[in-house]
Amino acid sequence: MARIANIQRMLTSGECTCRELTLRYLAAIDSANADLAAYISVTRETALATADAVDAKLRRGERLAPLEGVPFSLKDNISTRGLETSCASNMLAGYKPAYDAFTWELLKARNAVLLGKANMDEFAMGSTCETSRIGGAKNPHNIGYVSGGSSGGSASSVAANLAAYSLGSDTGGSVRQPAAFCGLLGLKPTYGAVSRRGLIAFASSLDQIGILAEDSDDARAVFQVIAKPDALDMTSRTLPNLAPELNRTIGVASEFFTGVSPDVEQAVRNAIDTFERLGYEIVPVEFPLLRYVLPTYYILACAEASSNLGRYDGIRYGFASDMYDDIDDGISRVRSEGFGAEVKRRIMLGTYVLSSGYFDAYYKKAQDLRHAIKRQIEDNVFGRCGMLLTPTVPTNALKIGANLSPVEIYGTDICTVTANIAELPAVSVPCGNDSAGLPIGVQLIGSAFSDAALLDAAADFERATDREFVANLDMGVRV
């Protein structure tokens, strides 16, 4: 429990140096990554240079800053100057950003030890990590299963003890769903709580950098460092209150339980009982607009993606083509060859819903629905409750190569996308195992800026259950 505190205690007590610890992580990555594909690139020199700086500081008798000396991984869509940031896409293979993401700046300033860039679905589009240019990251609990997506590599690296924690990104569930599949805590903060500057955009109004950690203590330690206002991100907002009071009333909406697998339903019902035993009040609430959240989400996300990904034309950076007749031909060759099938599917969907003649029927309706969904959550849930409890994913963990249709895959996002549409914080906490022995998560969605209170509730739940559902994996670096 609480890896970050443990690591800092080990470093401070001299139990090991930061260089020794970092070398152990790097060795573990060397031996496990071939099977897991958790990392898409390893930043060995950066990690060791940072570790040496931490050791020098310790030798001078200085105290460690929060997260200082703690090895971690960053999703491959968070920009790191001079270090490949490819979004797991052939389009950006070899691309080295000219600037740092704000979150990486914050972590770097605290000598956080970057081990490498975590594998992901291409441009964060996918729910299994399998759209990555190197293939999907595997689930360390059973490598026949996916790690989830899109932050699959982040989840795999933390679950396999190949990183103490990881930063991922969550546009429709991409932090929470892999956290659920891999038995981790996944936090998607309130929209605007963490700067998006340097996060390579998928859908700007939905994207949010999130945290994958073993437990709520670690997630809280990371959140406190990265939830800082950024003057250069106009959507960044200061948290009104870093320690909001926990409203111990939990709303449960029956709509979230239709079409849910029996294993998931059982585990989540048990979680509700646990909260009740802990003294939380469980209140039934209604959320009839749930049936519109997926179409709303996929229209908005694809529309924004089609816009955000327009810049990849091979002219200034990234995948380029030498053979073309004219500029239009050059741009279409680059985009046809550089992007994978799922990315192209979403760009085409997004282009379609924004085109003249279709805009009102799709994009405008989805925007209207977004407002209605926000309002309904506000009125039906947060008028009475502090949190809304749902399964994180309606299905059991997915097998590798299951070859689900896009619509089936999109359907697995049903419980998570609401928080992105409504810009709310949400956390996924392990709450059980399915019949194959793979972890299941329960999700708590909070009101805007109640991020810390959600972690309080998660901590209560962890203490009550002692994380009994999560198998201790005998791999990686145990701390």
């Binding site: 700007s204 106009m234 959507t235 327009g310 810049r311 200034r316 741009i331 282009t351 924004l354």
Partner: protein
Amino acid sequence: MKWETVIGLETHIELSTASKVFCSCGTKFGGEPNSNVCPVCLGHPGVLPSLNRQAVEFTVTAGLALGCEIARVSYMDRKHYFYPDMTKAFQTSQFHAPLCIGGSVTLSSGRTIRLNHIHLEEDAGKLIHDRGRTLIDYNRAGVPLMELVGEPDLRSAAEASEYLELLQSIVRNAGVSDCRMQEGSMRCDVNVSVRPEGSETLGTRTEVKNLNSFASVRQAIEFEVSRQIEVLESGGRVIQETRGFNAASGETASMRDKENSDDYRYFREPDIITVRLTDADVERLRSALPETPQARAKRYVAESGLTESDAALLSKYRKVAEFYDVAAKVNAKLAASFILTKLFAEVSTEVAREEWNLKFDAAAFSELVALTDSGTLSRDAAKRVLSAMLETGRSPQSIVERDGIGGAVNVDALCTAAIADNPAAVRDYLAGKEKALQSLIGAVMKASKGQAPIEEVKSALLRAIDAH
């Protein structure tokens, strides 16, 4: 058949903010290609725009100067197209909720030309086609640009040209752009159609893009009008299309079909928060607005009796007008005359007059006008002092007293000397011989080499004799 011409102009004007509209890069024209760029204006993955408050305020200021309504709530949209001049494949612009709505300018004929709206957007990079290669310079990418969309109220090339000149002078005067067509900081697209005189419906229009001089605007319109009339009179049909203008031949040629035009897929820019302006913000900008050149010219005629042409010249350049205003308090006609004859001869280009970078300020100029007004300096002497001021930037007082440059004279000192040197003449004058004063005046004039103003000498001598 008699035909009527209908013209609407879309004018792009770069704002002279210190930095670009979404990043902190500078906006200076020129410089090595791609020397004035950063990840944000290059549209690198993951960058976010940070809207320049000054660009918003400059657009509002221009809107206020043109009589627009100012939107208290507006936002940016993305306008999508694939072309290498735009690093993100979309231009951040305003489509659904522009900053300024309506507005108009009034031509000298008294006709009012309406604006539809003014919106804020970003400029694009520049493609340079060179020996089979295409090079791209992104220095201009992200420079704030406002687009002034005019209604189709213009009826001739001459009106279009006057409208543009008015826009240029009003926007320059508002201090938000240098509006230099030759440097591309002001550019124009014209929409032209013709219809039978008396008809109420608009004919099919063509658009001629990217005109960068007044002459091009006039030529392009004239060419299009006669081309369209020829097409229609020979039984043909004008095709709605975008046409390019060839400045060498003065002709337009088809570029692409508007009917198959790009679908810009506008949607609201999610990375930029809503722009909210309070009434107090708008009032602050309104009260900071300088007098318009037109109002100023009227005032010069009414208050100082300047001719209309002199008044128009003085009010055309804001910095010149402000410079003049200070000295006009002393003597308006003298100040006007010095500026229009002497200073405009030295500062002769449009650009130099706009910038009005003299080595001395309006206070020093006022001092010179005062010295002339009081008769201390003759007009000729004053002009020589002015030359010395232009050259050295020193104050007129110091030039007159210490250097005597330009034959400037110190009348009082010369008179005192003349009285001391000619005691007999003084005695004669005091004894009632008026003619003796003439010999004293003659002595002073001789000493000043004819430069001393005679009336001034006379009164100075009388004062000095009284005090003697």
